[in-house]
């Protein structure tokens, strides 16, 4: 089997104390959507943070396009083409929407206007509110700013930590539509989701984690169809 | 305390003994007495910082308030001044307090809105004009009474030792007001608020002549220990001088100084005993729990703000007590001499160097730092003389350098604080 685009391979580690992840593997192919689901405290966010380098691994490795990036800092991974949207405080609240996008592109030295236009095309509401302070926007709009900010570095892979936490179902559907749209442009998406059913519906690949280890791994559709998964994690 | 503590204290005693042997015993006793007072202040600050992590930048203000208490308690009253405006001044003060209370009542009773703001403002304005109409003439009349030596109301003429707890009480009152306002907010707000209140206390002491004689100073305050002048004539002092081979004057001042040292040591001992008991009590454990993790302490249902207020008031009271003791040792209140450098920042250096969170550490810090503060100046002058020895006499640079030797110790203290904070943040005697 060919090496996936991005893979966190057999990751083991935690925040200093006991291990949270136990030989956990997460991977995403080019232009595909991979979703991590699982019960509370399963280590979903931890697994994603490990892939992004915010957690020191005791064992295992992270490879991007075949290159071992396990030792790199999160900032260095951004430069390598990874974008990350944290679950909370993921915007600069007192800065305008446009400035948020500019800050997202801070490491770029070239012209960023084209990328900014792409973001505005993706999230038209942000174009209207470009001069408004991001902290004054609604929850869904703020998530759009957060995703837009991460897109400004033109990442090859975008990582989203529970992007739909705390937004209404309508906004959630819209956000998922946008995420599909982003993946169609060739950007790989790795995302942690609380709303397992909806997330798996758009996922090319799904990872069900339990206690920091892989329990089920399959295509999104297959997991949705799997009676065990349905019973244990999707509420029947 | 391990063997380290007693050893350090023994070294400190040795240093003082050296001062006695090689410089003079009077100097040694003076240093000892101020060290004892500094140690008490450091104990007070240590309660706030070491027990609760509260940052009090207004130690000067609390010691000054304590000093004022000595004047108000121990000085004889001035009947002419009381006749001239005593009633007016008191009435004025009461009116001032009544105005503020009225404003608070209005604020609480009226519904929120513009009307409430206007009403509060009106109450304050009317109250202000009534108060100043009563207060102003009265204080002027008081200050006009025999201004060269009196010009103030005097005190109650009570025994001077009584002023010490009163000083503590005064400081506690001021601390309660400051703490009420600024605790429970961001932690640096308390620091800024205490900085402000200490400026104001000094301003009041300096400019409210009817109360404290202001910059004219109150001198000749009754002392709890016989003065050297009186001791010189006592036969037992004379015979003591003979047997020591000292002159009578020196003997008398050493004996008088030792009297103070005894009193101060008694107070310090009692405070340490109380602090140690408190530290080891459930209350002390709770305070440390709050200091180390405010969030979880709050989650456990502790009223953090209330606890902080209590410890802040207590610590400030101790500072006020020390301030009162200092004034009764000097026998005078000199509002002009209160400066933040000496009374606030030096105390902080003491606590940090000694060991924050450890009562014995704070006491040791008081001794060490006061000793250095007194002794670094001659050392600095000696150093400057060495540096300038090659220069021509009378050159501007030489004069300037010699004159600035006394500022060297500020620098030294600052560097000491920074070095301790960085490399030995737990101090000479660390918290257990």
């Amino acid at each position: 089997m060919a090496e996936p685009f991005l893979i966190g391979d057999a990751m083991t580690g935690g925040y200093g104390g006991a291990d949270i992840l136990h030989s956990c593997t997460i991977a995403v192919e080019k232009g595909e959507i991979a979703v991590i689901v699982g019960p509370n405290g399963a280590g979903k966010s931890t697994a994603m943070k490990a892939v992004f380098g915010m957690l020191k691994l005791r064992e295992g490795a992270v490879r991007l396009e075949g290159e071992d990036i396990t030792a790199l800092s999160p900032q260095a991974r951004v430069a390598k083409g990874m974008g990350f949207v944290p679950q909370t405080s993921n915007i600069f609240p007192s800065m305008s929407v446009e400035e948020n996008l500019e800050m997202g592109a801070f490491i770029r030295r070239d012209d960023i206007r084209a990328t900014m236009e792409q973001v505005y095309d993706l999230f038209p509401i942000l174009r209207d509110k470009r001069a408004q302070a991001a902290g004054e926007l609604s929850g869904g709009q703020r998530q759009q700013v957060a995703v837009g900010r991460a897109l400004m570095t033109k990442p090859k892979v975008l990582m989203l930590d529970e992007p739909t936490a705390g937004v209404s179902p309508i906004v959630m559907d819209e956000l998922f539509d946008r995420i599909i749209e982003i993946s169609r442009t060739g950007i790989s998406i790795l995302m942690v989701e609380q709303n397992a059913r909806q997330a798996l519906e758009i996922a090319d690949k799904g990872y069900v984690l339990v206690q920091g280890a892989n329990r089920y791994t399959d295509t999104g559709q297959a997991l949705l169809a799997d009676p065990d998964v349905r019973k244990s994690f999707l509420g029947g | 305390m391990s063997a380290r503590g007693p050893l350090l204290f023994a070294l400190m005693g040795l240093a003082l003994a050296c001062v006695g042997l090689f410089q003079s015993w009077q100097l040694a006793i003076t240093i000892l007495n101020m060290s004892l007072i500094s140690a008490i202040m450091a104990l007070g600050v240590n309660m706030q910082w070491g027990y609760a992590g509260l940052f009090n930048v207004g130690v000067m203000g609390f010691t000054a308030v304590g000093g004022l208490a000595v004047v108000l308690v121990a000085q004889p009253p001035v009947p002419e001044a009381w006749a001239a405006g005593g009633a007016g001044a008191l009435l004025g003060l009461l009116l001032g307090v009544a105005t503020i209370l009225a404003a608070i009542v209005v604020y609480q009773r009226l519904p929120k809105g513009r009307m409430r703001g206007l009403a509060v403002f009106a109450v304050l304005a009317v109250g202000y004009f009534i108060t100043s109409a009563v207060f102003g003439p009265a204080t002027q009349a008081i200050e006009a009474v025999n201004p060269a030596s009196e010009g103030y109301l005097g005190g109650l003429g009570l025994p001077v030792v009584l002023a010490w707890p009163v000083g503590a009480l005064f400081a506690a009152g001021v601390a309660w007001m400051v703490g009420k306002v600024s605790l429970g907010l961001r932690s640096d707000y308390l620091a800024i608020a205490t900085l402000g209140i200490s400026e104001i206390v000094i301003a009041v002491l300096k400019f409210e002549g009817w109360m404290s004689r202001g910059v004219n100073n109150v001198t000749g305050i009754d002392r709890p220990v016989a003065r050297p002048v009186d001791l010189q004539t006592a036969p037992w002092v004379q015979s003591l001088a003979d047997s020591l081979g000292w002159d009578v004057q020196q003997t008398a001042s050493v004996v008088s100084g030792l009297g103070y040292a005894g009193l101060f040591a008694l107070v310090l001992g009692a405070l340490i005993w109380l602090s140690e008991r408190a530290w080891n009590s459930p209350w002390g454990r709770m305070m440390r729990a709050i200091r180390d993790n405010e969030v979880s302490a709050r989650a456990m249902g502790k009223d953090v703000k209330q606890r902080h207020l209590a410890i802040f008031v207590l610590g400030s009271a101790v500072c006020g007590l020390a301030g009162a003791m200092m004034v009764s040792m000097d026998g005078q209140l000199t509002p002009g001499s209160y400066e933040p450098l000496r009374f606030t920042f030096l105390i902080w250096v003491m606590v940090i160097v000694g060991g924050s969170g450890n009562n014995w550490g704070a006491v040791l810090g008081g001794f060490v730092i006061w000793f250095l503060w007194v002794q670094v100046e001659p050392a600095g002058r000696w150093f400057m003389e060495l540096v300038t020895s090659g220069m021509a006499d009378g050159s501007d640079l030489k004069d300037h350098l010699l004159a600035s030797a006394s500022y060297m110790r500020l620098l030294t203290m600052g560097v000491a604080l920074l070095l301790m904070l960085r490399f030995a943040p737990r101090g000479l005697i660390p918290e257990r």
């Binding site: 600069f92 | 961001r186 500020l410």
Partner: protein, 336 residues
């Protein structure tokens, strides 16, 4: 009733001095608020660093004067400001490298930073006094007045005079220029925006590739510029005395908190509120009031709400009111 003379008298004795004082405070408070929003601690060494910076400017001024260089009618000190700025940039960066950076690295509690800044303040204070002593130093030269009382009276024919001192005029103009430049920097430049981003959300700024050490360095440089200017203008206006600069700490903090800590616009507004309140409450309104009253009625006394000695009490009262009713300040500050 003579409205014009009342206004002139008020301007001469209160409005202009308060405007100048407010401008000096504003520059100082801006520095405090910037340090606060980036390094997240109350910079207690601010007043004394202002004093040291001014001392450096005074040294430069004397050197220039003895070399015969001047820019009359402007004071020579303005020419020496760059020297003071460079000295203070180096000083503050040295303080940061030697003291603060370590505590940043170990993520110390804010109180430890405050304590460290207290130590820095001590040292700074000592250095300033080594150079300047404790006495007052005047270093204003060049023209003293933009226009004097007599010139104003001759020109307008009014009974009341109005003078605009050079130092006041320079203060107000400089403060205005500096504020505009600062806002331009913060809102329009990459470095300025990265500072705001860092202040807004430190972690996200890191993720976006903003280098925190660089942001901190820029902050100290700007702070140095602000405080040298504030200190020099204050010294030109009122003479240099090290202790007065320490005492400026309280009004500067009050201004920054009143405006909302971490909010530059708030710091400016707060500074003017504090300055006008201090001057207004301790101002003897007698002359102004007597012009405003009908002829023949004179106010008794000075019509002064509080003696000048209590100007700190006014500042403190403002601080207390803010803390009681709106701890986040007029404009929402960063943190409670």
């Amino acid at each position: 009733m003579d409205f014009l003379n009342a206004l002139v008298s008020l301007s001469n004795f209160m409005l202009i001095p308060a405007l100048a004082y407010g401008s000096q405070l504003a520059l100082g408070a801006l520095g405090i608020t910037l340090v606060y929003s980036i390094l997240r601690f109350a910079h207690f060494a601010h007043g004394d660093t202002m004093a040291l910076g001014t001392a450096a400017v005074i040294g430069g001024t004397f050197a220039l004067q003895s070399a015969g260089v001047n820019i009359a009618p402007l004071p020579t000190a303005l020419l020496a400001v760059p020297f003071g700025v460079v000295a203070m940039v180096l000083y503050l960066l040295a303080a940061d490298r030697l003291v603060y950076r370590y505590y940043r690295r170990v993520r110390a509690k804010p109180m430890i930073f405050v304590m460290a800044s207290l130590g820095v303040m001590f040292v700074t204070n000592g250095i300033t006094r080594l150079f300047m002593g404790v006495g007052e130093t005047r270093f204003e030269d060049g023209e003293r007045f933009v226009f004097s009382v007599r010139e104003f009276r001759d020109f307008t024919g009014l009974a009341e005079g109005l003078a605009l001192r050079n130092a006041q005029f320079i203060t107000i103009v400089t403060a205005l220029i500096v504020m505009v430049a600062l806002f331009w920097f913060l809102n329009r430049t990459r470095a300025g925006k990265s500072m705001r981003a860092y202040s807004d959300n430190e972690d996200l700024a890191l993720l976006s590739g903003i280098n925190p050490e660089r942001v901190v360095t820029i902050t100290w440089v700007i702070t140095a510029i602000l405080l040298v200017l504030a200190g020099t203008l204050y010294g030109l206006d009122k003479g240099f005395r090290a202790f007065n600069y320490f005492q400026l700490l309280l009004p500067m903090f009050a201004a920054a908190i009143l405006g909302g800590l971490g909010n530059p616009l708030g710091a400016i507004v707060g500074a003017y509120v504090v300055a006008f309140a201090e001057m207004g409450v301790t101002f003897a309104w007698r002359r102004v009031v007597s012009y405003m009253l009908p002829d023949g009625i004179e106010p008794s006394g000075m019509v002064q709400l509080l003696p000048v000695d209590y100007k700190f009490a006014v500042t403190f009262a403002i601080l207390v009111i803010v803390l009681l009713f709106r701890p986040t300040g007029i404009f929402k500050g960063k943190v409670l």
